[in-house]
Symmetry: D2
Subunit: 360 residues, 4 copies
Amino acid sequence: MGNTFGHLFRITTWGESHGGAIGVVIDGCPPKLAIDINTIQAELDRRRPGQSHLTTSRQEEDRVEILSGVFDGQTLGSPISMLVWNKDAKPSAYEHLKDVYRPSHADFTYQQKFGLRNWQGGGRASARETIGRVAAGAIAKQILREQCGTETLAYVKQIHTIQAEVDSDTVTLDDIESSLVRCPDPRASEKMAECVDQARRDGDSLGGIIESVSRNVPVGLGEPVFDKLKADLAKAMMSLPATMGFQIGSGFGGVVGTGSQHNDPFYNDDGRVRTRTNNSGGTQGGISNGENIVFQIAFKPTATIRKEQETVDIDGNPVTLSAHGRHDPCVLPRAPAIVEAMTALVLVDHFLRQRAKTLD
Amino acid sequence: MGNTFGHLFRITTWGESHGGAIGVVIDGCPPKLAIDINTIQAELDRRRPGQSHLTTSRQEEDRVEILSGVFDGQTLGSPISMLVWNKDAKPSAYEHLKDVYRPSHADFTYQQKFGLRNWQGGGRASARETIGRVAAGAIAKQILREQCGTETLAYVKQIHTIQAEVDSDTVTLDDIESSLVRCPDPRASEKMAECVDQARRDGDSLGGIIESVSRNVPVGLGEPVFDKLKADLAKAMMSLPATMGFQIGSGFGGVVGTGSQHNDPFYNDDGRVRTRTNNSGGTQGGISNGENIVFQIAFKPTATIRKEQETVDIDGNPVTLSAHGRHDPCVLPRAPAIVEAMTALVLVDHFLRQRAKTLD
Amino acid sequence: MGNTFGHLFRITTWGESHGGAIGVVIDGCPPKLAIDINTIQAELDRRRPGQSHLTTSRQEEDRVEILSGVFDGQTLGSPISMLVWNKDAKPSAYEHLKDVYRPSHADFTYQQKFGLRNWQGGGRASARETIGRVAAGAIAKQILREQCGTETLAYVKQIHTIQAEVDSDTVTLDDIESSLVRCPDPRASEKMAECVDQARRDGDSLGGIIESVSRNVPVGLGEPVFDKLKADLAKAMMSLPATMGFQIGSGFGGVVGTGSQHNDPFYNDDGRVRTRTNNSGGTQGGISNGENIVFQIAFKPTATIRKEQETVDIDGNPVTLSAHGRHDPCVLPRAPAIVEAMTALVLVDHFLRQRAKTLD
Amino acid sequence: MGNTFGHLFRITTWGESHGGAIGVVIDGCPPKLAIDINTIQAELDRRRPGQSHLTTSRQEEDRVEILSGVFDGQTLGSPISMLVWNKDAKPSAYEHLKDVYRPSHADFTYQQKFGLRNWQGGGRASARETIGRVAAGAIAKQILREQCGTETLAYVKQIHTIQAEVDSDTVTLDDIESSLVRCPDPRASEKMAECVDQARRDGDSLGGIIESVSRNVPVGLGEPVFDKLKADLAKAMMSLPATMGFQIGSGFGGVVGTGSQHNDPFYNDDGRVRTRTNNSGGTQGGISNGENIVFQIAFKPTATIRKEQETVDIDGNPVTLSAHGRHDPCVLPRAPAIVEAMTALVLVDHFLRQRAKTLD
């Protein structure tokens, strides 16, 4: 019962990386939205493997199919079921992992929790699981754009030790997409690409930081006290594979300022109450305040590497493992599409929740 | 609908800081637990204001009453309703804040979202809201202790720029409680106390970092893909007032290592599979792996300060505000009880969820 | 986790009949509603025991207190906590029931499920549990009235073998309240009162049927496929103590007609699409169609009677029981307030859900 | 957000009758169950149209495919996604219904609620929607059978005015399946078949009553106060298309007895506490008591008939409609599979809930 997310715009995802297919059911999507399947496909294309030599060599077209909930190009208000078939599945490539626990992967915990696991490629713990999130997120983004003019972007802020300089107020989708690693700082982007390529050749892997910005978010989203906007965003992001941290606004760095330095002064900007700084990252009291929502997510280096590692097998015997087969040296370049999707899913859910309780 | 937390061990909190009372209803607590109200009270005492000169001067006894769900000292399996009356409420002390938005407080967003607010002391955005969480958390802790031997501790890791050295594997409750600021590193503790006292005198405020460790957590807690243990912990912590970040295990610092450096090697520890390092922070694939669960939370400096600040009033007019009345220069010393409670609530919920699906 | 009802307008009830108090927390109530505590009290007065010689002799004032969520007479949008203290609790009167299972009461199943029970007066299975529902329902009714002009009424349609004739289109609250047993058919009302009085003297009890009508319900409430309006109404009613059946529109009687007889023909009533008959009871496809919502609920005779009964004690020994102490020969006269409350709770929840998904 | 059912064993269904496919996602199914797809298919075969000349002429093989959650024949503990393709869809057959509201069908309310509808065959309001329920129910039945020895059966108790005599304690699946209309009383079965055939020839339709019995249900299932077993069963049944009533145990008929007649006396049956009668229908206080759970559901006559009917079109103009194309004169013969599925889904959900809160 952990595969559903959202309260009013609710998604349920399903599928293993090497089962028949991967999919999502959206329940609660408002009716009469014009759906363009190409827009959804475009988001999946940003997420899919094999976009460049820097990512996993798995070749998947990830072609989305809509099986319900859309009629004559419009949403019906009934559940929208979408799926992507697993095509380039090579279970045999995982045969050598069948009885071995990859360090820092989900092999051990899945085996312990469930008593068995689909050892073919990570099963439900694979990054392929995010396909359903991205497909649903594309529709969430559309609602936000059409209803509020909200735009959500995410980009690579750091890979390994290379940090980018990005102005979150002005960065564009084009800035992001024009970079091989989806880092809108061209100088950093180039270094990151080299760095990832080196990790690939080394059979090693790299982590990094994704930054997300949402602009034109309506004031008033977020439900105290548990479903604060920052809380739901944190959950959304920390539910992604490989995430190790979430921070909003000033985050961990903000703890060294005093209140008088850290507080965001209000001023009247031509009739609209705004803040001079945005240390709050766009939410106060757990509710959006109309400023940009800015947060960061830490991704650890991918667990599956080719380098030799100490581990144990399923019987507890010591084993030296060097995973062969596919190898994804860095997930960061594919992460922005996923982070944007999750952000949009949180925002649209709260947008609908706020509508519900705002009486005429 | 944002005031309920948990799936099987579910709490609903209610109450404004200056309404009649603050309370919680626990639904889903297993029957036949022996309840000692003093244990619950002891946790509330760790949270309450006025414990030392370093915290807010509000004087509240915060005496808990159990109104239902317990009979002859045992839980009935029915909802447990607990409350604490607001006694030292001084609405008049907040009169000057009635029409002014405190910078980085919830005043503005509550007013915008709800169209009105209880301006007496922060209403629902007050730290008093956490009373219900702490009372419920005391029972969650008891279940974990009795059923699994799990111990959850939290302590101050950093205030302002002062960082403590703490060994999360060995730190004890006594180590924590013997410090005025609840920092188990005596050298740091002393400096922190001075620093907070200075902020109090300055009419300013300080932030910091809380670290949480849970030991003897059963393997297998956490429900992929959305209700991963790290995701639910992140949500729990980011639902607390003033939190700006959450990181587990290596967190943001972990992004600079490579996979071969960051992965936690498995080994056979006398029949039990363990990891040599704990960069994962006790969860892999979103599921507890039996190692200590270690995470950190960033708290910003308290928003309400005595120092003069630029802001606007409810009509958008520029105002210079210096909040008088009570002033809490640093919430960190009172935060451990709250963080422990939220950790226990997440763990016990997942403990029950795992029981449900483990068939004989 | 079974003490919460509703999705957007969500109530959590708590309290045993002889614990300290009985209460409810409403989460999701829209802000800025003007709350008149007397209106809530009036509904509780219709539910409370001791209104006439026909009902239980328990004397409870059932005075409601609002502890949170209301400020300056208006809802804040935060949880509304309300409670009623148990005053006329006489645990000693139940001493003889401590180790005996009353036939058809919840004693046996509670003992088996939970391993213990509050034997003082039925605990959570007591009709007192409905106090929280009625208090919350009073606010739900207000929202429906103010937002949609919806009126919900319930009345006694049958007690024992005495059936009333009532025109659900025209019956008024006054018609209902002017009857001692809350049956708006004066002739039947008189007979029913006699009949209940006889049962009281016999130490026996009677069941009956409540009918509910809701007028001016907006078209479009109800969420296929599981949260159909009729499904949520059925659950609401069957969650009440002593209920044995629910039927809407033509109900069980409707199965003998053919489709051509049973279908409700549509016609154009001066621009509004209406149906000539209302066998559907106001919903089609699980969604309200704008006609009156009419349903009935069967209540079995109260389980606790003074007459001698065969049963067993907690050790399985055969026992002859004649319950003494309080005795309520018929709950029907007090049921309308409860049924109206549950109906209003379902309707207002669906009203908010429909608002959420109706985009501009 | 109305397409998910269950708390721990949770199903989400999707699909229109003439969209691409119909399906279900089960979240919360315990791991390591051996899944036999033929068992699931067998249940779908009991539900599918075209089993005899008495039902709809739609020809659908309804071949189920499992797309996730099962590996090497065992459940993984991850979501189980199943679907059935719509093959014999003839949208053109519905062209004449595009702009007309069928009386007592969901056409009008869907159009009003959503602002559009899939007019091809009923869309989401079609009986095809129950395919996902039946597929999921097959797995629920298996868990109940393997874990508790629970058996759930449903059968036709009445069609039109023809009532069957059935002993719910002894009736078998074979008794039911050997009847063309799934009525285990051979004499009534024959009459019912004639009656349905006549309705088919008349272009009319018939309703009736399904009875459900569950044997060997563990004591203790059901969660007071809102998630009482009878309440969740009522919701499950009233969420089915065409249902108009639910009654458990003595139901509406039970209101005419007095308490002393209606109460079920407890006795000691060789160490097990049982009741001499079962007016309670297997639950007391909302919790199963170990006796058979027996309830009935009223189904109205199918709304779509060939006979001429008065109605209006989408613009409100009066229209005389005689629906042509497929026609199902009576859904009762196909209903037992659906009712059994829903019963099993409720029971297994409560079985898991009860496990969760029963500590060692």
